[in-house]
């Protein structure tokens, strides 16, 4: 081998058709850490790890056989110390004195490959980050949909709770709590816009007798029927509320003292004329009161209470407006 080729700034080996090494230059021996006699006659494979060997056989061998030339083949050699040496391999196959020969030139590419590996890993990281982001986004969207659904459910449950908290369990009409709020609202309306309103307090006559004679179940069914009857007579939802026991209250917006009393008398008659299945006959006493400037939430209830008391005193099954006893 020419001196210049021995020391050339690249590795050089010449292999035969089967892959055995015929010639090797000094540079290559230095890289690999072998003596010339250790390397000549050996198969090229011995310089390769299992994977590199496989790759060499799968790609290098058929290509050189078919095309007599391989360019820029990247592979890792393993030297005597077991270190990996990444190289670029160019090879040429030709027939020399009747025998096929393959000349191989190697250029080390340690730094290049380090950069390349770094780039590669950065690219993989970026790709992964990108995928992760897309996945996270899809997950977030799912969560959003779920939250919206839960919100809907919560709103519905809230409405249901609100309704429950404002409803009398037995009669299914408004309860005292709702009445209190409604009263406040109507006082505000009166104060701000001058809209007059009246209250009726309805109490069943001798309700204790009903319970004592027919039992509490019968008493309950009377309360339910009366609640329905009052609501039907008033004709507006949410106006009739059960305060508790056998006591009902009715808010009448836009109704003056005279009108409220008329309505109360009408209710007396309706109750009296209604068909009461178990107890056959039922009457109520009604106190009425109309809100005035001097009134408060407390006084109006006090007035309507006094009127009712008077109606009871007057023999029941009748209505008294607070005006009449003032």
């Amino acid at each position: 081998m020419e001196e210049r080729l021995k020391e050339a700034p690249c590795g050089f080996i010449s292999i035969d058709q089967s892959g055995c090494i015929n010639e090797v230059n000094t540079r290559f021996l230095t890289w690999m850490g072998y003596q010339e006699e250790e390397m000549v006659g050996k198969h090229m494979e011995t310089l390769l790890t299992k994977v590199n060997r496989m790759f060499f056989h799968t790609y290098f061998f058929p290509t050189i056989q078919l095309h007599n030339s391989v360019e820029e083949f990247y592979i890792n050699l393993t030297n005597a110390a077991g270190e990996s040496i990444p190289v670029l391999l160019n090879a040429r196959r030709y027939v020399h004195e009747g025998v096929p020969v393959i000349d191989c030139l190697f250029i080390q590419m340690k730094q290049r490959i380090d950069y390349e590996l770094e780039l590669r890993s950065l690219q993989k990281t970026t790709e992964k980050a990108y995928l992760d982001r897309e996945e996270a986004f899809a997950q977030l969207e799912k969560v959003y949909v779920e939250i919206a659904r839960k919100q809907g459910e919560i709103l519905e449950m809230n409405n249901e709770l609100l309704k429950l908290s404002n409803t009398d369990k037995l009669t299914n009409i408004s309860n005292r709590r709702f009445f209190q709020k409604e009263l406040e609202r109507h006082i505000d309306l009166y104060t701000e816009e001058g809209i007059v309103f009246s209250l009726l307090m309805v109490d069943i006559d001798h309700f204790k007798n009903v319970n004592d004679t027919y039992g509490h179940l019968a008493g309950d069914s009377v309360l339910v029927q009366l609640a329905g009857l009052l609501t039907q007579e008033i004709g507006l939802a949410n106006r009739v509320a059960r305060l508790g026991g056998e006591e009902f209250v009715i808010i009448l917006p836009g109704t003056n003292a005279e009108e409220s009393l008329q309505l109360a008398v009408k209710l007396n008659k309706a109750v009296e004329n209604a068909n009461w299945e178990i107890i056959h006959r039922l009457t109520v006493s009604i106190g009425a009161s109309t809100f005035s400037e001097s009134d408060t939430e407390v006084t109006i209830l006090n007035c309507v209470d006094q009127a009712l008391y008077r109606a009871k005193g007057n023999g029941r099954n009748c209505s008294i407006h607070y005006h009449e006893i003032r």
């Binding site: 496989m54 790759f55 056989h57 799968t58 290049r112």
Partner: protein, 265 residues
């Protein structure tokens, strides 16, 4: 619409009454048969082809989903059989083509007469009780190696792998350069080859089969040849005293003789 012959770059040589179908292996194309095909053509009609994605095939016919499994490539063989109306085929498959061809022969045994496998392996990865020759990590390293050879380092700057079907230019020209191989197809072919396991199909193979195994093959250890022989119902195992994975290229005369003898008997 291209014909299957155009799609798979089918070439027919020789005038014999009997047909030999030569199927190339991993990382190659039909030119790998150049050392034995002309000799076989003296006596037989020899059909050569490139799988879709390889050689001069029509790359626009390549679909990752179809060709991610050996069954996609099997369909290439069945398509060629149908279009050429081939019968009583003597099939010769190299490497992964042995298994692809076997799947075709299991599906249509009536089309095949004799079957030759050169350096076949039903499974490349070691498992308890089975020697395939490689660990899963070796295969992952091989795929990395391929990727780095085929894409070239500048390509790492390109963020998205494009659909190979959209850039047929990639696979053309510069055959001696590894850069010419379409990286995505090469990778998918490698994954299909090295990650599949055909061991359960072996028992269904009824066509008489010759297994040609090299005594020192860096890709397929000798145990694999023995395993195949034990599990293929109608098989003969022949071990060639040569090194390597390509006896039809390194020892074409002997390989041709083995094939002809097996077909004749």
């Amino acid at each position: 619409m291209k014909t299957i012959q155009q799609r798979n770059h089918v070439k027919i040589i020789g005038q014999g009454e009997q047909t030999i179908l030569l199927a190339h292996g991993f990382g190659c194309d039909q030119s790998m048969w150049q050392y034995i095909a002309p000799a076989l053509a003296e006596q037989y009609r020899v059909v050569l082809f490139d799988y879709v994605g390889a050689g001069d095939s029509d790359i626009t016919a390549y679909h990752s989903e179809k060709y991610s499994s050996a069954h996609g490539y099997k369909q290439d063989i069945l398509d060629i059989i149908d279009e050429l109306e081939l019968k009583d085929i003597h099939f010769v498959g190299h490497s992964v083509s042995s298994m692809i061809g076997m799947l075709a022969a299991i599906e249509r045994p009536e089309c095949f007469k004799k079957f030759v496998m050169i350096g076949p392996s039903p499974c490349y990865i070691n498992e308890p009780g089975y020697t395939g020759g490689f660990e899963a990590s070796d295969i992952a390293d091989l795929l990395t190696m391929m990727e780095m050879n085929f894409t070239g380092w500048a390509n790492y700057l390109a963020p998205v792998v494009t659909d190979p079907a959209k850039d047929p230019q990639l696979t053309k020209s510069l055959e001696q350069s590894f850069v010419s191989v379409n990286p995505q197809i090469a990778r998918e072919f490698a994954e299909m080859t090295f990650m599949s396991d055909h061991r359960e199909s072996l028992v269904s193979m009824t066509v008489p089969t010759l297994i040609i195994q090299c005594s020192d093959d860096s890709i397929v250890p000798i145990e694999v040849g023995e395993y195949l022989h034990a599990h293929l119902p109608a098989s003969t195992l022949h071990i060639m005293q040569v090194k390597g994975h390509y006896p039809h290229m390194s020892n074409p005369t002997e390989t041709k003789k083995l094939i002809e003898e097996f077909i004749a008997n």
